[in-house]
């Protein structure tokens, strides 16, 4: 800056307020005390997705009919979009900003549409260096499959051990076909196998092969054996009840299961709902007996609604106390419950009402009061309770190359959570093998501020459903796919929260023409930006942040 010019008389002054010096050293941007910056935020849907699927960008592709690119983007974070599009409880939709405007996006049905539309596509497998280390994965459920996919992509030799005759774990054994058709699962497992993953089925750990031996032969182990051990009711006559999981496994394996007509299902979780809906399809009349009320049921709300819609009945505030066999039928003695003080889960504790005993008759009883992992195959030396290091960030059990994930680690959870655990395990294993530390992941702000003025109300697409009359005839998938037009229109409803989609608003609105647009990217010319914030205000999707200038 030059020296200031001091006027001593009006005759030295110009007629108007104009600088007499050249002002190129100080353009108009010097007025600014707030600086707009382009900083993409994480969309709440993406943040809520256990896998962090890049939902806004995927929807942007779908909205333009670019389904293949959408599918390939899914596969960067998830090897099972066809599975997730059907069975995920879609926390993404719960967090969708659009819910505060009209209705959340139907993200799950779009994911399913993309997977279906790209059913015949395959991953492009690039030439990549093969790594010498071998990794064994025990269990081929969502955690094991996902772990295998990411390790194999990175060039590791992966062998997956599966006790059952086909890979898939709970996806195949537990989830009924009306929710997840087997050809979808088969196809996505096939795509994982194409990366060079070896599957050894009919190989049960602790029985057909020893964990200690695996540990000797492989450089790292991932234990993802799920939670298959059904919890007990601890009542007399319990042995007269079939476990829900056994029932589902048998039906899903195509075996004939005779449950008669009137079937009581004890429990209120997702297994209970699967049992009820499966029983219904076998011609039974399912009745769910649950000790609390509908509000406390741990099952996903949509599953409860579907079960009820199809004809399942509910007996709330009832708990079995004993089961007896009488005249070829079962008698389930129950006691009426009432809700007391909240327990540590926050749900109100069921308390028996003395003298309220009653009897329910049934042809069969299925108990589905929860599952837990069975890690008894781990040798004493690898006991999970002692001496196993927790990797803090992911809660993975880690000790000298043994990693435990999925339901085996957490107890029963969701498919997406298990997949996330599998992917985290894959990266933890890579770090373990390379002696690397876990990098600090950048924390992005969530895009919570949407300028609704830029959007028009548009109702959420209705996922087509098979009519109940047809559903109960068999195991055909109950949800139908969106049409391409429906999927595209639905994807166009996406606000693209936090992700610039080149709407040009900032560029158009800047009163100082201080924003340049070159090849679809915007830049603020701070020589002229006054920091007025109009760009940030008019950005419909909170991509632009205002930060204070440092003086």
């Amino acid at each position: 800056m030059r020296k200031p010019i001091v006027f001593t008389s009006e005759r030295e002054m110009p007629p108007m307020a104009v600088s007499l010096a050249d002002m190129s050293h100080n353009r108009t941007g010097s007025w600014r005390y707030m600086r707009p910056i382009y900083s993409e935020k994480i969309a709440p849907c993406k943040n809520a997705c256990p896998l962090g699927n890049d939902i806004p960008r995927i929807l942007s592709f779908v909205s333009e009919g670019r389904y293949e690119e959408a599918w390939r983007l899914f596969r960067q974070t998830s090897p099972l979009p066809g599975v997730c599009g059907r069975v995920c409880y879609h926390p993404c939709e719960t967090r969708c900003n659009r819910k505060d405007f009209d209705e959340a996006l139907s993200i799950a049905s779009i994911e399913r549409f993309v997977a279906d539309a790209c059913f015949d596509l395959e991953d492009e497998i690039p030439e990549r260096p093969r790594r010498s280390e071998k990794i064994a994965i025990v269990g081929s459920g969502p955690a094991g499959l996902t772990c295998a996919y990411f390790l194999a992509k990175d060039g590791y030799a992966v062998t997956v051990f599966e006790a059952a005759s086909q890979p898939g774990g709970m996806l195949r054994l537990g989830i009924p076909a009306y929710r997840l058709p087997r050809e979808v699962l088969d196809r996505e497992i096939e795509l994982i196998a194409r990366w060079g993953v070896e599957f050894r089925t009919n190989t049960k750990i602790g029985q057909d092969i020893d964990i200690e031996k695996l540990w000797e032969q492989y450089d790292a182990l991932f234990v993802a054996t799920g939670a298959h051990h059904s919890r007990a009711l601890n009542i007399p006559g319990e042995e007269l009840a079939l476990t829900g999981l056994e029932f589902l496994k048998a039906v899903n394996a195509g075996q004939t299961v005779n449950i008669g007509k009137r079937t009581l299902i004890i429990g209120g979780g997702n297994t209970a709902m699967d049992c009820a809906r499966t029983a219904l399809r076998l011609g039974a009349q399912p009745i769910v007996v649950y000790r609390r009320t509908r509000e406390e049921m741990p099952a996903i709300a949509e599953e409860i609604e579907e079960a009820e819609h199809e004809g399942t009945r509910f007996e709330f505030l009832a708990a079995p106390t004993a089961i007896y066999q009488r005249d070829g039928r079962l008698e389930v003695h129950c006691i009426r419950m009432q809700l007391g003080e909240p327990d540590k889960s926050g749900r109100r504790r069921p308390v028996p009402i003395p003298g309220s005993d009653f009897v329910m008759r049934a042809d069969s009883v299925l108990k589905a009061v929860g599952e837990e992992p069975d890690l008894s195959f781990l040798s004493e030396r690898l006991e999970t309770s002692e001496g196993i290091v927790m990797e803090r960030a992911q809660g993975l059990l880690e000790r000298a190359g043994i990693f435990v994930g999925g339901d085996a680690q957490t107890g029963p959870s969701t498919v997406a959570q298990a997949m996330r655990s599998g992917r985290e395990a894959a990266f933890a294993i890579m770090r373990f093998l390379r002696g690397e530390r876990k990098p600090k992941a950048p924390q992005l702000d969530e895009a919570l501020r949407v300028n609704f003025s830029y959007f028009a109300h548009k109702p959420r697409v209705k996922t087509p459903q098979l009519p109940v009359s047809e559903r109960i005839l068999g195991f055909a998938e109950t949800k139908r796919a969106l049409s391409a037009d429906q999927a595209r229109l639905e994807a166009q409803r996406c606000f693209s929260c936090g992700v610039c989609n080149n709407c040009d608003n900032c560029w158009v609105f800047c009163p100082d023409a201080a924003i340049t647009r070159i090849d679809g990217t915007y830049k603020v010319n701070y020589d002229f930006c006054k920091g007025c914030g109009v760009c940030a205000e008019e950005c419909p999707r909170s991509v632009i942040s205002l930060v204070e200038e440092e003086l």
């Binding site: 009006e10 002054m13 007629p15 307020a17 104009v18 600088s19 007499l20 050249d22």
Partner: protein, 390 residues
């Protein structure tokens, strides 16, 4: 003295006379928003721009405030700029009028005098332009369509000399929509009279400067002093511009125009089209032997106080017709004349008449009544309402 060249005779309305004046002045940027009774001014100019008669940029805007803002930008960049408006449009420009003057931009504007609402009116009176008296704009009140055209050209000449904006004013309908035969001068003569605009400072990427920045108290007052000095200089420049205009075009108007004022005992003061009617009445009265003369105020800002004082010297009574009202005080022209005379020993009584508001006709009969009232009263009241139904 004879004009060196003659132009073309044409019958045009006052509004189109404005348009021709702007076209002949070779304006480079026009920005305007339509409002009755001004619309035809910019309609014809937009046609001139569209058909290539005038090589100017016509900027359509969403309000008069923006129109003036656009011209401030264009004039800052060194362009000769023009706009036209009326009444509420002018009022909406108010902030920008101050800016144009303070930035010393020689913008020229035509304002068609229209009464302010409410109640809605489209007819003439002067309150719209007189409300902008203190914005730093020169104001010139025109009497005829020829004077309108000529004043546009003169206004650029003076404005660009003293770097102050100028507003020429014409009565709604009486001039704006009334066609008269006028002479449209040849472009070559206008070019000889009006050279291209040469700004002292302009927005120029090769000579970057800041404009309109913050002026602390130690410099603000000097800039205001300079504006006032420029307005004083403008009195001389108007006289010179009028003189040179008459040499080239054969017409002159003066800053004020005394009409048959010699030996008058009573002098009637008018502005705008009332002047033409008053000329007829004065002719009649003088033929009756009455010593009544006329003074037309043409340039109102800068106010030609010295000329007014000289003209009123020796007059026994002054009657001022105001087609405007400053509520709570009276007619604005009367006030101006009173204050111009107050510091003189010799100062005739001033009769301030308010007449013709909202376009009510000021007929020869009305003017005769005004003169007769003045003749028959010795002490003027502060404000005399003419024709109010009571």
């Amino acid at each position: 003295m004879t004009p060196t060249l003659t132009g073309t005779k044409k019958v045009v309305t006052g509004n189109h006379a404005v348009s021709y004046g702007a076209m002949l002045s070779r304006v480079q940027v026009i920005s305007a928003y339509p409002i009755t009774p001004q619309t035809q001014v910019v309609e014809l100019l937009s046609e001139f721009c569209a058909n290539g008669t005038l090589r100017a940029k016509f900027i359509k805007v969403e309000s008069e405030h923006s129109a003036m803002a656009a011209l401030i930008g264009a004039a800052s960049a060194g362009a000769r700029t023009f706009t036209a408006t009326s009444a509420h449009g002018l009022a909406l420009m108010h902030e920008m009028l101050h800016w144009a003057a303070g930035a010393r931009l020689p913008i020229v504007m035509a304002n068609v005098n229209r009464a302010m609402g409410p109640p809605w009116s489209v007819w003439t009176d002067q309150n719209d332009s007189l409300s902008q008296r203190d914005t730093g704009w020169m104001q010139i009140y025109c009497e005829s369509n020829q004077e309108v055209l000529d004043t546009v050209i003169q206004a650029y000449r003076v404005a660009e000399k003293v770097f102050m904006p100028a507003m020429l004013v014409l009565d709604a309908f009486v001039l704006s929509h009334t066609a008269e035969q006028i002479e449209i001068p040849d472009q070559s003569v206008v070019d000889e009279y009006l050279p291209p605009y040469r700004p002292i400072y302009k927005l120029d990427p090769n000579d970057p400067r800041s404009f309109g920045g913050l002026a602390p108290p130690d410099v603000y007052m000097e800039l205001r002093y300079k504006m006032h000095r420029a307005m004083e200089d403008a009195l001389t420049e108007w006289a010179r511009a009028d003189e040179e205009f008459s040499e080239l075009f054969g017409r002159r108007y003066g800053l004020i125009e005394p009409y048959r004022a010699d030996d008058a005992k009573i002098l009637l003061v008018t502005s705008g089209t009332v002047t033409s009617t008053a000329r007829e009445v004065i002719d009649e009265l003088q033929s009756e032997g009455r010593r009544v003369g006329l003074l037309k105020i043409r340039v109102f800002r800068p106010f030609p106080a010295q000329l007014v004082r000289e003209t009123l010297q020796g007059v026994e009574k002054v009657a001022v017709i105001d087609r405007n009202i400053s509520f709570g005080m009276g007619g604005i022209f009367a006030q101006e004349i009173k204050s111009a005379l107050y510091n003189r020993h010799e100062r005739p009584p001033i009769f301030g008449f308010v007449a013709g508001l909202g376009g009510r006709d000021i007929t020869p009969k009305v003017i005769r009544e005004i003169i007769e009232y003045t003749e028959s009263h010795d002490e003027p009241e502060d404000l005399i309402w003419v024709g109010v139904k009571r």
